[in-house]
Structures are given as structure tokens and as C-alpha cells.
């Protein structure tokens, strides 16, 4: 029974990382590095809570995804149209997300760091998992779906070609800029959804800093999963497992809890240091595309 409980809680912890990691697969496959995913999760959690507070959880999720998409649109304009450094733009968006959420939280709720309690969606009763958020099931469905879209559809083929060799794609008549915009915005929608999951389903309110770097960890999960959704699933489960394990260790209190809190971050470093395997990123990942240059 303890094991089932551990698996269930690993899954719950893995979902926000997984959703964002799937988004990261889309944007990076289109050749745009999006380090602003953390910020898109932050706006997702805040706007999700705000939406749910005023209009109920469904609108909450919808507003959160829109907020993520808007931030992603800014990233796309900056990095695809103006070809600015993708990392700098992402960092600016993270700061913008943090600042604007604090600002708006103060303006709406007179508190900079939390919102009042908000409602989540209905729960589905499942064997082993117990009361389950439909978002968990959605996330699990999205894994094969994203795999299918990327590998088997025309849209996916074009998206990938833009990330591998934009010049060739352009020559073949594919609208490189449109595909890159699509990849970035999909990642923003998913990160917004993931943030809303944290606020509405996991905690029942928005708390400043609740994303705790999960956007960055999702990037690591995407890399560890070798830029594909199935890989991202296993990597996210690993991170989710580490996190849920850490809660259990805290209860035992043998190791100081500050060290337990470090586990996801240390694990991320260890995973990226290639303890396990070599990676193959898309060939033109992170390189802005400009017409008329080689």
C-alpha cells in the first residue's frame, strides 16, 4: 500500500514538470530555447488562481493558458522576429512574470505573495491513485499525442525540419517563422496549464514562488528525455519520484530538511552532467534564423 501511495504521489509531483517538458519539446524542436517557461508557469499559477477565484476553475485554466501564451508570444516576437538572444529574452520574461504577478496580486488581493483559496476541477476516482485530477490524465494522454503530432503529422514534420535545418525548410516553402511561433506558443500554453495545475489542483491557491524552479527542471527533463515526449515522461517521473520521496524523508527527519529540499536541483545537475547518457539536440536549436544568410 505504501508503494502504491508513493507511485501516486510521484505521479502528482511529476505532472507539472511533465506538462512543461512536453511544451519544451515543441519549442526546442522548432529550434527556439525557451528558458522563460518558469515565468510562463508563474503567470499560469497566478492567472489560473485569479480566473478560478472570479469565474471558476474551467475559466481559471483557460485564462492561465492564455497568460502563458501571451508571454510566449512576447518570447517569439523577441527571438524569432527580432532574433535577440533567446536566453536573455527568457530571463527577462521570468523577471516580468515574477514582477507582474506580485504587482497584480497586490492590486487584486492586497497581498503580494498569496491569493485566497480557490477551487479546482472535479476529481475522478481511480484504483490505486484515489481521487485524481483530470489534468493528470490529460498530461498522460498528451505524451503519446505529442509524440504522434511531432512524428506522424505534416505539422510535426515541418516543425522539426525548422529546428534541424531552417534554410532547407525555407527553400522547400515552409514558413519558418510561423512554425517557430507555433512551437513557442504551444510551449507557453502548456506551461500556463502546468502552473494552473499547481495552483488549482495541487495547492488550492497561488503562493509566490510555488513553481520552485520547476520550469527549469522541466527543461532538464526534456534534455534527459532526449527531446521527445516519451523520454520527458520518464524523466519527469524520476523528478516527481525524487520530490515525493523527499516529503517522506522529511517526516523521518534524519537528514536536515534543507538538504532534502536540494534533491531535485542536485538530481538535475547530476542528470545533465551526463551520468547516464549522451544527448542529441536539434541541429539548429537556439540559433536564430535570418533569411539571406548561411
Amino acid at each position: 500500500m505504501l508503494l502504491a501511495e508513493l507511485i501516486a504521489s510521484s505521479l502528482r509531483m511529476a505532472v507539472p514538470i511533465l506538462l512543461t517538458a512536453i511544451g519544451a519539446v515543441y519549442t526546442e524542436r522548432a529550434g527556439v530555447v525557451n528558458i522563460g517557461l518558469e515565468g510562463m508557469m508563474i503567470v499560469g499559477s497566478f492567472w489560473g488562481a485569479l480566473g478560478s477565484y472570479y469565474f471558476g476553475p474551467y475559466m481559471g485554466f483557460l485564462i492561465a493558458m492564455t497568460a502563458g501564451a501571451v508571454l510566449a508570444l512576447i518570447h517569439a516576437i523577441a527571438t524569432v522576429t527580432f532574433r535577440v538572444d533567446q536566453i536573455v529574452s527568457g530571463v527577462a520574461l521570468n523577471i516580468l512574470a515574477y514582477g507582474s504577478s506580485r504587482f497584480l496580486s497586490q492590486a487584486f488581493f492586497k497581498m503580494a505573495t498569496t491569493t485566497p483559496h480557490v477551487n479546482g476541477l472535479f476529481k475522478i476516482k481511480l484504483p490505486f491513485l484515489g481521487d485524481t485530477s483530470p489534468i493528470i490524465i490529460l498530461a498522460l494522454v498528451l505524451v503519446p499525442l505529442a509524440g504522434f503530432i511531432l512524428e506522424k503529422t505534416v505539422f510535426g514534420l515541418r516543425l522539426r525540419s525548422v529546428g534541424e535545418n531552417p534554410l532547407a525548410a525555407d527553400t522547400l516553402g515552409i514558413n519558418v517563422f510561423k512554425m517557430k511561433y507555433a512551437g513557442v506558443i504551444i510551449s507557453g500554453v502548456l506551461a500556463g496549464l502546468s502552473g494552473a495545475y499547481l495552483a488549482l489542483e495541487h495547492t488550492g491557491m497561488y503562493v509566490e514562488g510555488m513553481t520552485q524552479g520547476k520550469g527549469f527542471i522541466a527543461l532538464a527533463a526534456m534534455i534527459f528525455g532526449n527531446w521527445n515526449p516519451q523520454g520527458a515522461l520518464w524523466a519527469s517521473l524520476l523528478f516527481g519520484f525524487a520530490e515525493s520521496l523527499s516529503f517522506r524523508v522529511v517526516q523521518n527527519a534524519i537528514i536536515p530538511y534543507q538538504f532534502i529540499k536540494m534533491i531535485p536541483y542536485v538530481l538535475t545537475l547530476a542528470v545533465l552532467a551526463g551520468v547516464v547518457r549522451k544527448y542529441t539536440p536539434p541541429a539548429a536549436d537556439g540559433v536564430p534564423y535570418e533569411r539571406g544568410t548561411k
Partner: protein
């Protein structure tokens, strides 16, 4: 010659346009919560420049940002992104505090340099991990430094609340107080020689001139030493540098450690000049401010000094609008993010424009 003027003009013009653009978009946010942006910006100015002590507070605010901006700019110069200033200065500040409260019986002129040295070591130590991981294991420095920031938060929390907690008092979770010999003197005495009398509640200290001098040293290093030349070469084209006989990995190591060393100084003005101890609420975020400062200052040491003062002013002004107009201070965080975005976009547009002019000139 004409071209150089144009480049200089755009280097100065871009940040100014960026600031106005960011102010414009922030105005929309201020309007959205039903406040008057003109009044907000006017209040910021009036609150900041009305009195001399307020100007001194701006300089005090700008002190950590000078160090942080310089540390970030060293990374940018060689094409690396050190987002880890945040963690590096927290570790540096902690080591400095440790030396500050535990080494007893030293005269000030030995103790102060020792504390500063500890800060530098702390910053370098925390910068060594990501650069090692990058060069040996190919881990991108952006993700690793972000992870190390989170790790440093927890580590500092542990060290302050469990290991080195001040047990002489029961109420607060903080380190013991630094010995008086480890505290940095204020600038008041020096300034009074020139007839400038600052009130007691201003904490402007010697780290401010140290920051200015350091900017000068960095400028000299970048443009008049072989290492500075290598650093700039590697930043512009690592492959070409390699064929020119420069070992990029070696430059990355040294440059990143230098960046970390400077990062180690970021928190010391607050530690040795204001708090006198480190607690869980020790100011955070200077590392991220430094990114904005370096970009607005166009990675030039003197630009960074000016940008630091701009942000020092914004911080002071933010206190004003919060207390007087009830507009959240976080307005300036939004302003700052928008400034970063505007400056990189404007720089790109401007440099494309210059390239076009050059092309025409050749044809």
C-alpha cells in the same frame, strides 16, 4: 572614423530609447490599476532628488548593483551567461560573515580585507562548479547556475538556522554579529572634508568608491591586457580564437572565476555596511538586477556604473510610490524586465541597420 561615431552614438542612444519604451509599457500597467503614470514617475523623481540624503541613498542602493553588473558583463564578454551571481554572492556573503564574526582580535586594516577575501573565495567556489561542469561534462551554464542558485538558498538556510545560529539571543534566526573590526566605515567622514554632511540613517560606505575603482580596473583589463583581449576574442568567435592560438576553455575558466570573484563582493556592502549579520531575509535578487544593469550599461564598465545608479534611483523611487501613492513597488520589477527586452531588441535593430549602411558603403 565616421563609423566609430555612429557606433558610439547607437551605444548611447539604445539604452535611452529602451528606458523610454519600458516606461511607456509600464505606464499601461499603472493605468490598468487606475493610477496616473505621470504622477507616479513625477513622484519617483521628487521623492528621490528632493534631498541630499536621498541622493546618497541612491548611491548606496547602486553599490551592490555595480559589482553584480560587472560580474554579469564579464560573462557576456566571453559569450557565457552567468545567471548564478545570485547563488555566488549568497555563498560569498556567508563566508565573509563567517570570517567577520569568528576571527577575533584582529585590527580593522587586516580584518576588513580578510572578510572581503572570504567573500571573493565564496563567489569563486560557487562559480567553479558550473564552469567545471560546462567544460568537462558539457552542461550548459545557464541551467547549472540556476540549479546552484536554488541549492545555495537551501544551503545558506541550513548554515544560518542550524549550524552558525547566534545562540546568545532567542528571538531571531541569524548569524552572530560581525565584530566591529570587520565593519566597513561609512563615507560620511570623508565627505565632510568637502563640506558634505550626511545624516546617520544613510549607509553609503567605502564599497561604493571600491566599485567605481573596480570598474576602472575591469576597463583597463579588458582593453589593455592580453587576458582582456583573449576574453573579448573568445566572446566574439571561439573558433577563430582557437586558430589564433587562444585556448577558449582556459579563458572560460579564468573568466568565469573572475566573474564569480566579483559576484562574491555583491552582498558585502549590505553585510559589512548595514546589517552586520546575515539572516534568512538577507537581500536577494541582486544577481538578476545585475543582468539588467549589464545590458542597459551595454557591458561597458562605465555604462554599468550609470545603469547601477539608474536602478538605485528606481529602487528609491519605488519606496516613494508605494508609501505616497499606494502603487506596488513591483512596478519597477516590471519596468526592469521591459528594459531588458527593449534594449536587446533595439540593439539588434540598430546593429542590423549599421550593417546595412556598411554594406551600402562597400558597394
Amino acid at each position: 572614423m565616421k563609423r566609430n561615431y555612429k557606433i558610439l552614438a547607437y551605444k548611447i542612444l539604445s539604452p535611452i530609447i529602451a528606458i523610454f519604451l519600458a516606461a511607456f509599457f509600464s505606464s499601461l500597467v499603472i493605468l490598468a490599476i487606475g493610477k496616473n503614470p505621470v504622477e507616479v514617475f513625477y513622484t519617483m523623481f521628487r521623492f528621490s532628488f528632493r534631498r541630499l540624503d536621498s541622493v546618497a541613498i541612491i548611491l548606496y542602493n547602486s553599490t551592490p548593483l555595480i559589482f553584480s553588473g560587472l560580474a554579469v558583463s564579464i560573462g557576456f564578454r566571453m559569450g557565457l551567461f552567468n545567471i548564478g551571481i545570485e547563488g555566488q554572492y549568497l555563498i560569498g556573503t556567508f563566508l565573509a560573515a563567517l570570517v567577520g564574526f569568528s576571527f577575533k582580535g584582529l585590527p580593522s586594516f587586516i580584518h576588513i580585507p580578510l572578510v572581503i577575501f572570504a567573500g571573493i573565495i565564496g563567489g569563486m567556489l560557487w562559480a567553479y562548479i558550473p564552469i567545471y561542469l560546462k567544460i568537462k561534462r558539457g552542461v550548459h551554464e545557464v541551467i547549472s547556475t540556476i540549479m546552484l542558485n536554488y541549492i545555495s538558498y537551501s544551503l545558506i538556510h541550513y548554515l544560518i538556522s542550524e549550524v552558525f545560529i547566534d545562540r546568545t539571543q532567542k528571538l531571531l534566526i541569524r548569524t552572530p554579529k560581525l565584530l566591529p573590526t570587520a565593519l566597513i566605515p561609512k563615507l560620511h567622514g570623508f565627505l565632510s572634508l568637502f563640506g558634505i554632511e550626511l545624516p546617520k540613517h544613510v549607509y553609503l560606505n567605502w564599497f561604493f568608491p571600491v566599485g567605481i575603482i573596480l570598474a576602472g580596473i575591469i576597463y583597463y583589463m579588458l582593453y589593455y591586457t592580453p587576458f582582456g583581449f583573449e576574453l573579448r576574442c573568445v566572446g566574439q568567435n571561439p573558433d577563430a580564437s582557437k586558430s589564433a592560438g587562444i585556448n577558449p576553455e582556459n579563458v572560460f575558466y579564468k573568466g568565469f572565476l573572475l566573474s564569480g570573484a566579483i559576484a562574491g563582493l555583491v552582498g558585502l556592502s549590505d553585510l559589512m555596511g548595514y546589517f552586520g549579520y546575515m539572516d534568512l531575509d538577507f537581500p536577494r535578487g541582486y544577481g538578476f538586477d545585475g543582468i539588467a544593469v549589464a545590458l542597459i550599461g551595454q557591458n561597458s564598465p562605465f555604462g554599468i556604473i550609470i545603469a547601477s545608479m539608474l536602478f538605485g534611483f528606481l529602487k528609491r523611487g519605488a519606496e516613494g510610490i508605494q508609501t505616497l501613492l499606494n502603487v506596488p513597488m513591483d512596478t519597477i520589477v516590471i519596468l526592469q524586465a521591459l528594459m531588458i527586452l527593449s534594449i536587446v531588441i533595439i540593439n539588434k535593430v540598430m546593429s542590423d541597420y549599421i550593417k546595412q549602411i556598411e554594406k551600402k558603403g562597400v558597394a
